[in-house]
């Protein structure tokens, strides 16, 4: 799928299925420096309005101190050819990063075997075409 190269970052979109709703989240950044994918609570505000007893609390440390995040099991996550059911997704406030609805991290990029093509600004699963690696 195409990547939108904007503001120096690689933007794409991801789909969550939760509570029977199919939620397309645009403006998420491909981030090979992130262990876990993360979605902004504001991007899912319409569907995520309650603290669930099974939510796993996370403290995120960094500049500006510590902030809460929540790891919640969603029914499925879909990104290009990658799909996982269920999936433990992190949710946090990303108000410090306006215009960014989340990060797609290595917990999706590695199992999906994604190749990020920075010449054509595309992301796709596995090697293909010229330069394909022999097995």
């Amino acid at each position: 799928m195409k990547i939108d190269y904007r503001d120096g970052l690689l933007f794409t979109s991801i789909t969550l299925v939760h509570g029977g709703h199919r939620i397309l989240i645009p403006d998420v950044v491909l981030d090979t420096g992130a262990v876990h994918s993360l979605i902004s609570i504001d991007a899912v505000d319409e569907w995520f309005q309650r603290y669930e007893p099974d939510d796993q609390l996370i403290f995120m440390h960094g500049l500006g101190g510590s902030e809460a995040a929540v790891r919640r099991r969603v029914e499925s996550v879909q990104f290009d050819t990658f799909s996982a059911q269920p999936f433990d997704m992190d949710f946090a406030s990303l108000r410090e990063h306006p215009g960014i609805n989340g990060l797609i991290g290595l917990d999706i990029l590695i199992p999906g075997q994604f190749v990020i093509d920075l010449k054509h600004f595309e992301v796709h699963a596995r090697y293909r075409g010229i330069g394909e690696r022999s097995q």
Binding site: D31, Y51, E52, Q56, F59, A69, A92, L94
Partner: protein, 86 residues
Amino acid sequence: MLWSEVRELFPNQYVLVKELKSHYVGEHTLHIEEVALVRTISDPHQAWIELFSAPAGHFVYHTSHPEIVIELKTKPMVRRRSIHEN
């Protein structure tokens, strides 16, 4: 107050608490033993809002959990090009 005492007094509900005593379990997990109760929160929607607006050292947790176990991670660092940059 020990977490076990909070659970006894306020079973099966959300509480806004302040962390008082904790220890690390490995590098990435915090086990909180003692807290100061700020207030109970009966509405899960209000609990969700307060979780993300709690002041430093405070958090919202559900007393159905026998222990307070919290994963630690680093904040995301997105270094976007400034709008003033070429």
